[in-house]
């Protein structure tokens, strides 16, 4: 009798644990959730708008456009005076409870970016099912133009943009910026940050440049993709770029691989000096004409590269100091590491914008696909 009672009690306890602790109470079948893959946040005329791409799990064909590839995803929109109201409107329109954990991209329109994205990012801070590792971006295009785009090799706009960003970061020609990174910079209250900007060009979504945000999360400008080399060297430790160098009658294409950087701040008498040293490895990839390259030519290419990269770095910093008066390159972390007390008291924006910059680039051609003449 006693044994039967103990066994029953054990089974009851096991059942309670299985039903509650592994999350059965919270679990919902996948088809009973609206799985969001992309979100565009917009603000116009004082109203907040959400445009979302939602995975279509019902198997029903979409009526939104004639393209079959869009059948797997639906576009849902909502609006309200505040984000909470817009979300409320969204909840009233959707059939199922929304699942945010599968979101691949968060896009802010330029109108929203002008108004400031800090409030929305703070809203995400507290939302548990929202991954803080999803990439951020902005756009000057209309949200429906972005969501109605048909990317090649992907049915979802959200997945396509995420993959695109991931691949260019991996290739070394861009840098990653996600919700968590933006939240970290905003928490410092003294620095700005850069967010990739998307545009629909020739029916394809392309990364056209980057939007500059200040310490309050407001858009203060845009930098075109062509001027990004200097910026990528600051953020991507695996940055790789190609440079065309003319030497004599030949044009050489050189692959530059970022090696390391050293930033040394010095602060005396209220004047900040930043010494930036970057080292690169280089690979002589090919030339427009056949024939070996001499040691002397190699040295000349090296010198040309050093001066060009140095110029790029200086221009990058100068733009942030003079044009935007905003430290979006993350110098504040280096300064704070050495001058914690001064940093807390000072107006970093002022000090940074008047800082003296010394930049140096060291290039070492350690590989050559072109025969080297000894």
């Amino acid at each position: 009798m006693k044994k039967t009672f103990r066994n029953s009690l054990s089974i009851l306890l096991a059942a309670c644990i299985l039903l509650t602790l592994p999350g059965c109470w919270d679990s919902l079948d996948i088809e009973t959730r609206d799985i969001m893959t992309a979100l565009i946040v917009d603000k116009k005329g004082g109203e907040c708008y959400f445009y979302t791409e939602v995975a279509n799990l019902s198997g029903k064909k979409s009526q939104q456009n004639g393209d079959q590839s869009k059948d797997n995803f639906s576009i849902l929109t909502s609006e309200g005076k505040t984000f909470s109201e817009a979300r409320d409107d969204y909840n009233r329109k959707t059939v199922n409870q929304v699942f945010l954990g599968a979101s691949r991209i968060l896009i802010f329109t330029n109108r929203m970016a002008d108004d400031g994205i800090e409030e929305y990012l703070n809203r995400l801070r507290g939302q548990l099912d929202y991954r803080k590792t999803i990439p951020l971006s902005t756009t000057f295009d209309e949200p429906m133009d972005i969501l109605n785009d048909v990317p090649e090799n992907s049915a979802s706009v959200g997945f396509a943009i995420e993959k695109n960003l991931e691949s260019i970061v991996k290739e070394g020609t861009w840098f990653s910026m996600n919700v968590g990174d933006a939240l970290q910079v905003l928490a410092s209250k003294k620095a700005g940050f850069l967010v990739p900007d998307l545009a629909v060009s020739n029916k394809a979504i392309t990364i056209s440049g980057m939007t500059v945000f200040d310490q309050n999360g407001k858009r203060i400008g845009k930098i075109s993709a062509e001027n990004r080399n200097g910026i990528v060297y600051f953020f991507n430790p695996h940055a790789i770029f190609f440079y065309d160098i003319r030497q004599g009658d030949k044009k050489y294409t050189v692959r530059i691989i970022f090696k390391k950087k050293k930033i040394v701040p010095a602060y005396t008498g209220g004047q900040l000096t930043l010494q930036i040293d970057m080292s690169f490895n280089a690979n002589l990839n090919f030339a427009d004409k056949l024939g070996p390259v001499t040691q002397e030519t190699q040295t000349k290419i090296q010198n040309q590269l050093e001066s060009r990269i140095k110029q790029e770095i200086e221009q990058t910093v100068k733009t942030s100091q003079q044009k935007y008066r905003c430290d979006y390159l993350g110098f504040y972390k280096y300064f704070r590491a050495s001058y914690q007390k001064e940093f807390e008291k000072m107006n970093w924006q002022d000090v940074y914008s008047h800082a003296q910059i010394t930049a140096a680039a060291h290039v070492n051609i350690n590989e050559s696909n072109i025969p080297v003449e000894s």
Binding site: C16, T20, L21, G23, W25, D26, R125, K333
Partner: protein, 366 residues
């Protein structure tokens, strides 16, 4: 009823770390910034001395717990008084731990599951584990402890790989002295756990090494705290740590292991491990509470005492109106009671024991 030295290490380790590590980075970021390691190192060195004292008392009175060896040292009345302090201390920890565990699980993992259900189920499961006795608890927690430690260290290394070392600078960020003073009560909360050794009878098998184990355990906990705090800083930065109640979870959620597609979201294993950790923690505290109650009521091995304390802890756990209140209650308990259980009472026993030994030596001299 005994534990090996390794089991003792995991007992104290699992008693101390789960809840503290989840909120420690916020506490440290608010008070010490990147200089948190200085405070944690100093505190672990300080408390390791008292852990050594409790282990010495247990070693000098082999086969006895504090309740048993205190009678010849301080008399029956004081024995009951001291045991009552330990009991109240552990009881409050049991109820606040059950509540905090429910709050964290509710806030971070299962937002729809009511808190009282999590509390009831975890307390019932912990109660079942406690009913199996110290030796069985020691064996199972030794295995769980190894798994927990391995996963924790693995997750922390993932954090290092994806974090920014600049967030840890300046290394020597020395805070104002008044900050160190204001954080003394919190240090009691951070290191509360080794007083558990007062209910573990040591045997010959533990040997003199048990004192080294006790000291090492507290130092290791200090190191683990530093590791957890610094790696969280690496991901969130000191400024952002202050914006979360449980920064450890936030930091783990910001890790994507792209190289391992099957393990892309490392937070899943981390959360499962943390729940296991919290369960072990609750079982150990409940065990300590029940042992003191059983000894005072002279009801050795009584499951009635266990059930009664489980129900009372559940009811008491429901009393705080919010998570913040439950945490504040735990902090105040540590300030008012843990000071006695971790420092004052062991010190009284240590001095009394030394005096008695001295008297004995004198009386034995020809």
């Amino acid at each position: 009823m005994s534990l090996t030295n390794r089991q003792l290490f995991f007992f104290v380790f699992l008693f101390t770390i789960p809840f503290v590590t989840s909120m420690l980075p916020k506490m440290m970021a608010d008070s010490f910034g990147t200089g948190a390691w200085i405070y944690l190192t100093a505190a672990s060195l300080f408390y390791s001395v008292f852990a050594g004292i409790i282990a010495y008392l247990g070693f000098s009175n082999r086969g006895k717990t504090l309740f048993e060896y205190s009678r010849p040292l301080v008399g029956k009345f004081l024995t009951y008084c001291f045991s009552l302090i330990y009991f109240v201390n552990f009881f409050i920890y049991t109820s606040t731990t059950a509540r905090s565990m429910a709050e964290i699980i509710h806030a971070e993992v299962m937002v729809n599951t009511p808190r009282w259900v999590v509390m009831a189920v975890t307390l019932a499961a912990a109660g079942y584990a406690v009913s199996k006795g110290l030796t069985n608890l020691g064996r199972i927690f030794e295995i769980m402890g190894i798994l927990i430690l391995t996963v924790s260290i693995f997750t922390r290394f993932l954090t290092i790989a994806q974090g920014d070392v600049l967030n840890l600078l300046p290394v020597m960020d020395i805070a104002e002295p008044k900050k160190y003073v204001s954080m003394v009560p919190s240090s009691l909360f951070l290191f509360s756990g080794f007083e558990l050794m007062t209910i573990i009878p040591f045997t010959k098998r533990n040997g003199t090494k048990v004192m080294g184990t006790a000291v090492f355990t507290v130092l290791f906990i200090g190191f683990f705290y530093i590791f957890a705090t610094e790696t969280t800083y690496m991901i969130l930065g000191v400024d952002d740590c202050s914006n979360y109640n449980y920064p450890l979870f936030t930091a783990v959620r910001r890790i994507d292991v792209n190289a391992l597609q099957f393990l892309k979201r490392g937070d899943l294993i981390f959360i499962i491990t943390w729940i296991t950790e919290a369960f072990c923690n609750l079982s150990i505290i409940l065990f300590a509470t029940v042992e003191y109650a059983r000894k005072m009521l002279a009801k050795q091995g009584s499951n009635f005492v266990l059930a009664a304390i489980g129900i009372l802890a559940f009811a008491a756990g429901l009393l705080p109106s919010s998570a913040a209140m439950a945490e504040s209650l735990a902090l105040h308990t540590s300030f008012y009671l843990s000071g006695f259980t971790m420092i004052t009472i062991p010190l009284i026993f240590f001095i009394t024991q030394k005096v008695k030994n001295h008297e004995k030596n004198i009386s034995e001299q020809p």
